[in-house]
């Protein structure tokens, strides 16, 4: 029955994807994140949904012209992603023989990078950016809602793996933790109450789903996410209240086995599981020391022959005593050591550059938002959302092999897209004749945000009513720092410039 329903919906989706590249693109991303096949049991179980939508999108891009589509441009993020994929190709090419998933993972990275490279061409305005956020939240929260409800119904006895597409329960917890900031953003920015409260409900149930995975990495990731969100939030009280609510929910619903397992985080040195991970890190770094440029190939350390060669090698962590693992290969158990072993020091440098670049992009977005004022605050908040998802990825991922999972790369490119959208507004605003005053961004983060919230300028501008205003500095904000809050526009008064009607994203 389920297969027939999914088939019917696919038959509706595919023509949409062919008709409009944007629809195909959203479906492509959605199918990649939801992993539909795992929820089907009949003739659709092996249907290649991602490939179908990807192909439909690419064909649609060739045949149909999207009126808003932009040309491919090489930005810092896209250049780093291309570099990562090309370097990965050479790593796969020079890999140790007999690595089962070498080319599969190399292909996965290439597909992820292709998806990300197309994002700036199709996701060009706020509406489309918001649609991307909704799509990511929809696809990923699906797993959270399913497992969270099962956990609730079973009274805390259910152990979730989430979706085997992602890997084991730890990977599932990572994915679910990453989507929490998206739901928080949608709760704040959705216009309809149904979506707002649906997002909040989804967030709480997804927290339960993370608990149901019994993943310590997921627990640490949620802690890091909570700390980051509260520290970065302007509404620290609301943030703290939500974190407290989630904490109470967890304490009341989590079984004793979960509490015991989380308690072992404190005794990492005595934990055989953790020390096994350190042993895997040693082997991974030893591979990189022998192959600094291209590493040993994708998942080299999981290959029995490679593991046998390096399992006693001290690598970069010779100062830590680890047990000898009687296994035929182990997972790297850390995104950093995974990339290091798979792609060498060069690959790790590109990977780290990608993550650092994402946080730098977030900072640039805030600088642009401050220059534009309250109207564009959503972009800053979305940048914080994406950065929070990446914080969860970096913290949880430090104990997991999840370097090639697509969601972090999508977040990185979405940050680039938001930056590009804000830059285009800036260019239009600063263009000669646009009639906008010289609102300069100030340096201090806190003072800027405070000025965005507390506009003190209440002077009627001579430029109102369509007449061009003389650009001037605001009389009350330091260095003309007051933004252009829309409340003041509504009251027919603002400082230092005219409203730019062409500034809609």
């Amino acid at each position: 029955m389920r297969d027939f329903v999914v088939l019917a919906m696919t038959l509706v989706y595919v023509p949409l994807a062919f008709a409009r590249p944007l629809a195909g693109y959203l479906l492509w991303g959605w199918a990649g994140l939801i992993g539909l096949n795992l929820y089907l049991f009949g003739f659709m179980v092996s249907a290649p949904f991602v490939q179908i939508f990807a192909l439909a999108t690419l064909l649609s891009l060739l045949v149909n012209r999207d009126p808003l589509a932009q040309r491919l441009q090489i930005t810092r993020t896209s250049a780093l992603m291309i570099l990562f994929a090309v370097h990965g190709f050479f790593s796969a090419l020079t890999a140790y023989p007999g690595i089962v998933r070498n080319w599969e993972l190399c292909g996965a990275v290439a597909k992820t990078v292709l998806f990300c490279l197309l994002m700036p061409t199709l996701v060009v305005n706020r509406l489309r950016i918001h649609a991307m956020v909704v799509m990511i939240a929809l696809a990923t929260t699906f797993h959270g809602v399913l497992d969270g409800l099962k956990f609730l119904v079973s009274g805390g006895a259910f152990h979730a793996i989430v979706n085997p597409k992602f890997g084991d329960n730890n990977h599932g917890a990572l994915v679910l933790t990453m989507v929490l900031p998206f739901l928080f953003y949608l709760y704040h920015y959705s216009a309809r109450a149904l979506v707002r409260w649906g997002s909040l409900g989804g967030l709480l149930v997804t927290v339960l789903a993370v608990v149901s995975t019994h993943s310590r990495g997921g627990f640490v990731g949620m802690g890091a996410l909570a700390a980051w969100t509260v520290l970065q939030s302007r509404r620290k009280v609301t943030g703290l209240a939500l974190v407290a609510l989630a904490g109470v929910l967890v304490l009341y619903t989590a079984p004793e086995s979960w509490t015991v397992r989380m308690g072992t985080i404190e005794n990492a040195e005595d934990d055989a599981s953790f020390m096994g991970r350190v042993a895997a890190w040693k082997a991974s770094s030893a591979i990189a020391l022998e192959h600094p440029f291209f590493g040993g190939g994708f998942r080299a350390v999981q290959t029995p022959a490679v593991w046998e060669k390096y399992k006693y090698a001290p690598g970069l962590l010779g100062f830590v005593d680890t047990p000898v693992l009687n296994k035929r290969g182990v997972a790297a158990h850390s995104i950093w050591f995974e990339v290091l072993g798979d792609q060498g020091f060069v690959g790790l440098t590109i990977f780290v550059a990608l993550i650092v670049n994402a946080f730098l992009t977030r900072r640039t977005i805030w600088r642009l938002v401050r220059a534009r004022g309250e109207e564009q605050r959503w972009a800053g908040d979305l940048a914080d959302t994406l950065a929070a998802a990446l914080v969860a990825y970096v913290v949880s991922g430090s104990l997991l092999s999840a370097a090639y999972f697509e969601l972090p790369y999508v977040c990185m490119m979405l940050l680039e897209v938001v930056k590009r959208q804000q830059t285009s507004l800036q260019v239009r605003t600063l263009a000669p004749g646009s009639g906008v005053g010289n609102h300069q961004p100030v340096r201090s983060d806190s003072s800027e945000r405070a000025s965005a919230r507390n506009p003190r300028c209440d002077q009627t501008c001579p430029g109102e009513g369509g007449a061009p205003a003389e650009p001037r500095r605001c009389a009350f904000g330091s260095a003309g720092a007051s933004p252009l809050p829309s409340e003041l526009f509504a009251r027919g008064a603002h400082c230092g410039g005219t409203r730019n009607s062409a500034e809609r994203p």
Partner: protein, 62 residues
């Protein structure tokens, strides 16, 4: 059963998102995503209005 219902809901909601995006996403000015519409700024209905609060003191230098 419940899993199937949630899956069906997901499929329908995704279709709704696509419909709204296709309807609205073809012009630069359009911002109405229907059910998935967004606010210009986050909901701060519970927070005090900073614009109304400020006139008490008056602008510095006034």
């Amino acid at each position: 059963m419940i899993e199937g219902l949630i899956l069906l809901t997901e499929l329908v909601v995704m279709l709704l998102l696509l419909r709204n995006v296709l309807r609205a996403g073809q012009t630069p000015e359009e911002e109405d995503l229907g059910l998935f519409g967004f606010r210009r700024r986050p909901d701060t209905s519970s927070a005090p209005n900073p614009v109304e609060r400020s006139p008490k003191k008056g602008p510095p230098g006034a």
